[in-house]
């Protein structure tokens, strides 16, 4: 049975062991219990069918989540999994990843979990560049607690806790991640399996923290929140590294960078193709990525999707491992020696 996780084969160059699995191998025996029509089903399916590509044995993969609808995700993956408490998944994943660099650690979170109750942990895991992959499923609503506005809901959202409209200015998750010094920041859409899979592939291969915002439809409490981008594909500004940033049914629209540092939407015919902004995922400063993230604070018009930023920076887990190696190179710890260190004195039988 070639699907058995213990059955390791090697890839083309005969060096790296590869495990050949299928999407089915990543389905657990648990009944999936999201609402019918929930966008989480599509994301789960995309992740399960993408996982075999990693060539990593199932026992080396761990999904960690907090609280929320999407936080049920680990139960449905035939990997190791930890369904924790609200907002804390990045902290738990940090302890796991740094103490077990041999694992592939994934965090599945939502807009409330990651940006409200767990906001502090999110920004710190990003700045440290811990080797975890974060999938932030954004519904712009609290689903599990039945429909309160979330930190990504547009200003004025009317709901159970805000009958006269919400007063909170919403977060833009991509801007937050960029501001928190993330080294990999991307955005995709639940139902666009091809795009989502490509983004997941890039995220998985990124050394350090990868942050992926996924627009997800909550058909019960916030149906159609992303339709302006999901359904009207002419509003999707698909970012491609090294290419001019353009969009529209015929690519007739584009993005230029103004002298004040902001992005502006233009007609390509008016400004000419050579005036368009060329996307650079690897720009160290992140200012281009940030400017792109500001094009659409809430996705009700033309909105960039794809990879905003992909740069290299030392990975926290590796740095920690290196310090341990350095210390051990000077002599592995020996307990009796440690206890006897410092000023000691002898008392002999008088």
């Amino acid at each position: 049975m070639s699907e058995h996780p213990g059955d390791k084969s090697t890839n083309g160059n005969g060096e790296q062991p590869l495990v050949q699995l299928t999407a089915k191998d990543f389905k657990s025996d648990q009944e999936v219990r999201w609402c019918p029509g929930c966008g989480d089903y599509a994301i789960l399916a995309a992740v399960q069918s993408f996982m075999p590509e990693l060539g990593i044995a199932r026992e080396r993969i761990v999904f960690v989540s907090g609280i929320g609808c999407a936080a049920r995700f680990p139960y449905y993956m035939q990997t190791y999994g930890l369904h924790s408490i609200h907002g804390r998944a990045p902290a738990i994943a940090t302890g796991l990843s740094t103490s077990r660099p041999d694992l592939s650690v994934w965090v599945v979170t939502g807009d409330g979990d990651a940006l409200s109750i767990g906001g502090n942990h999110l920004i710190h895991v990003l700045r440290r560049n811990v080797n975890v992959k974060i999938l932030l499923v954004n519904t712009q609503i609290y689903g599990l607690t039945k429909g309160q506005y979330s930190p990504t809901s547009p200003l004025g959202t009317k709901n159970k806790s805000t009958p006269m409209g919400s007063l909170d200015w919403p977060f833009n998750p991509v801007s937050i991640a960029l501001g928190a010094e993330a080294t990999f920041v991307a955005r995709s859409i639940d139902t666009d399996k091809k795009h989502l899979t490509e983004v997941l592939r890039r995220a998985a291969n990124h050394p350090g923290t990868a942050f992926v915002e996924i627009y997800q439809n909550c058909n019960v409490y916030n149906d159609g929140a992303f339709d302006a981008v999901k359904e009207q594909t002419e509003n999707q500004i698909r970012l491609e590294h090294g290419q001019p940033v353009r969009f529209g049914a015929e690519g007739e629209k584009g993005v230029v960078l103004r002298s004040d540092g902001a992005c502006e939407l233009v007609d390509v015919a008016t400004v000419g193709e050579e005036a368009l902004l060329i996307h650079d995922e690897h720009q160290q400063e992140g200012s281009l990525a940030f400017a792109l993230s500001r094009i659409s604070h809430t996705p009700h018009g033309p909105t960039p999707i794809g990879i905003f930023r992909d740069v290299e920076r030392p990975v926290y887990d590796q740095l920690m491992a290196e310090q341990l190696e350095t210390a051990k190179a000077e002599g592995a710890g020996e307990l009796a020696g440690l206890l006897n260190s410092g000023d000691t004195w002898q008392i002999t039988k008088g």
């Binding site: 000023d343 004195w345 002999t348």
Partner: protein, 612 residues
């Protein structure tokens, strides 16, 4: 001309000065010299939370008390015999503790109008009769130091800052302490600034010589070495012992240590110590907040490390939700609570025992967690290993309680024989089930511990979480009977640890005392000391001290039933008292003080006598 030497059985010295005067360093060096002399000793640093309160002010006073003797002692002493006051504020805040007839050594240079005013004195206490009841040694420490340092090539201000070394030299002469250790220490500490090293060494020697030659100091004192069990000793604080105990627990469990913390007084030193032990494979993680610290430790535990987090009361309050998760996950996790006075920020550098009920009950719902409390600074080492043993064997979070007194106080510590430390290793599940899925909540019938499979183990992939679990399978379950079963099972698992811990030992020399004094944690020294004191007066009292607070030792009920009267002294308003009354229906009485200071033996002796 040698001065006469008088033998003393014991001495209590308190160094008191401004936060910037280096009193902790002075006390620490005097302690090291005393330890090397072979005296038994106990210390009590008492310092403000402010790093540098305004110079010369009352809140800025920092103190260090050391009690040393030629016999076994248990506490830093109730009242000093000797008070070294470096300025008027130090005199004012400490003089009340010095009994009449005590020795007072003052730095007369610091008694300026301005300093007197800052201390709230309207006249100079050295001249107005305030100190008439004491044996006063007036020493112009500052000017003598500056005089001694002429030609060293440092500023007058830098010279003035060496006055603590002059004082240390003087005290070292007065109590015939060895000087080599301090001179070596100075050379090492200031290796990069040779002129400062020279200044401190010279000030130290000058202070020593001043004692030898000054007519004011007519007698030198000697305290003979104490009789202690043979072996190798070092002086140790509670926090140092916790650090060493955690490394030992990691070695003895064969699990890598992952220690995470958010800086908080008085726990941070444990993080500092362990950050230096990376050669043992110790990972330390300074988290973004208290919640992340415990979360990371739990994540590391899930991965098969020994997950530990250190904090104090306010931090523990923030960690409780995650500790509840660890209860549900049934994973090992060690949480160190170095207690301090509260509520809220309270008095960060001062000890209290008021977190007991929080660690017992401060989580949502039925959430039992074993609790262990260290009794002495050196005992923190054993407590760390014992807490780890229970956490690993029973797959449970465990609280280890210490306090600011144990954390910073020190005593000679007989180094344990590494070979004699217990093997506390655990076995992970490694065998895939013959058929069906892995059952993460399948239990050992004796300990009720569930099987522990760590990521990386093929065939044992499983999911756990904070939702209620079906026993055995670990699947999410809302079944009413399963929940009732699981709540009772988790309680039974923790209660069952009673069979696996030592019985409560009772110190009752004649076996016929009427009064049992039951204590826990850092009050061991003062309670035992008080008990010995009143026994010398012919009174009978038994002392039992709890290390395990949840579950209680299996003979606790029998011990309590044996004594007609029970007194429970605590540095809180009666928390163990509530537990004992509730659990054992015993009409125990409390003795409760929350002054941010350890108990004095004399007040406890009075409380015991009042019960007899």
């Amino acid at each position: 001309m040698a001065k006469p030497v008088e033998q003393l059985e014991r001495v209590i010295i308190r160094f008191a000065g401004d936060s910037g005067d280096g009193m902790q360093l002075t006390g620490g060096r005097f302690t090291s010299e005393t330890a090397l002399m072979g005296n038994d000793l106990s210390t009590l640093p008492d310092f403000p939370a402010e790093i540098r309160a305004p110079a010369g002010s009352l809140p800025g006073v920092s103190g260090f008390q050391i009690h040393f003797s030629d016999h076994d002692i248990l506490t830093p002493g109730d009242a000093p015999n000797v008070l070294v006051a470096m300025n008027p504020a130090a005199l004012r805040t400490n003089l009340n503790d010095l009994p009449p007839g005590g020795t007072l050594i003052v730095n007369t240079d610091a008694f300026t109008d301005r300093n007197l005013q800052k201390a709230g004195y309207t006249s100079n206490p050295l001249d107005d009769g305030t100190v008439d009841d004491y044996l006063v040694q007036r020493v112009p420490l500052t000017s003598l130091t500056q005089e001694a340092l002429k030609g060293v090539g440092i500023t007058s201000r830098e010279a003035e800052r060496s006055k603590n070394m002059f004082a240390l030299g003087l005290m070292s002469w007065l109590y015939t302490r060895p000087t080599e250790g301090t001179l070596a220490y100075i050379a090492k500490k200031f290796a990069k600034r040779p002129e400062i090293a020279e200044a401190n060494a010279r000030a130290f020697r000058a202070g020593y010589a001043f004692g030898e030659t000054s007519e004011g100091f007519a007698t030198q004192y000697e305290v003979a070495p104490a009789e202690m069990p043979p072996g190798t000793y070092r002086n140790i604080t509670g926090n140092q012992a916790l650090g060493l105990g955690l490394v030992a627990a990691s070695v003895q469990s064969k699990l890598p240590l992952f220690l995470s913390a958010y800086p908080i007084t008085p726990a941070s030193d444990v993080l500092h110590d362990l950050a230096r032990h990376k050669s043992f494979g110790v990972r330390t993680f300074q988290a973004e907040d208290e919640i992340a610290a415990v979360g990371a430790a739990l994540g590391a535990s899930f991965g098969g490390s020994l997950g530990v987090c250190t904090s104090s009361g306010p931090g523990i309050a923030l960690k409780q939700e995650t500790i509840g998760l660890a209860v549900a996950l049934e994973l090992p996790l060690l949480i160190l609570d170095i207690q301090r006075a509260g509520p809220s920020t309270g008095m960060p550098t001062k000890p209290e025992q008021a977190d007991l009920l929080m660690v017992m009950f401060g989580r949502n719902a039925e959430s039992p967690v074993p609790v262990i409390a260290a009794s002495t600074p050196g005992g923190c080492f054993d407590a760390a290993i014992e807490a780890t043993r229970i956490a690993l064997k029973y797959r449970t979070p465990v609280f280890l309680l210490s306090d600011a007194y144990l954390a910073n106080g020190s005593e000679p510590w007989l180094l344990p024989d590494v070979e004699s430390l217990p093997d506390i290793s655990v076995e992970f599940a490694t065998q895939p089930p013959v058929e069906g899925a892995f059952m993460p909540y399948l239990r050992d019938p004796d300990t009720l511990a569930r099987q522990w499979a760590i990521p990386g183990t093929p065939g044992l992939e499983h999911r756990i979480g904070g939702l209620e679990k079906e026993d055995v399978t670990g699947n999410v379950s809302y079944d009413p009977d399963n929940h009732d079963h699981m709540v009772r099972l988790r309680a039974r698992k923790v209660a069952g640890i009673a069979a696996d811990i030592p019985e409560l030992a009772v110190d009752d020399p004649d076996g016929d005392a009427e009064l049992l004094v039951l204590g826990w944690g850092g009050t061991y020294g003062p309670i035992q000391s008080a008990a010995r004191r009143i026994r010398r007066e012919g009174k009978k009292v038994a002392h039992a001290h709890l290390t395990h607070l949840n579950p209680f030792p299996r003979n606790t009920a029998a011990v309590l039933a044996h004594y007609p009267k029970v007194l429970i002294p605590e540095m809180n308003l009666g928390q163990l008292l509530k537990l004992v009354r509730a659990e054992f229906l015993v009409d125990a009485h409390g003795y409760n003080r929350v002054r941010g200071l350890p108990f004095r033996s004399d007040e406890l002796a009075e409380a015991m006598k009042a019960m007899l």
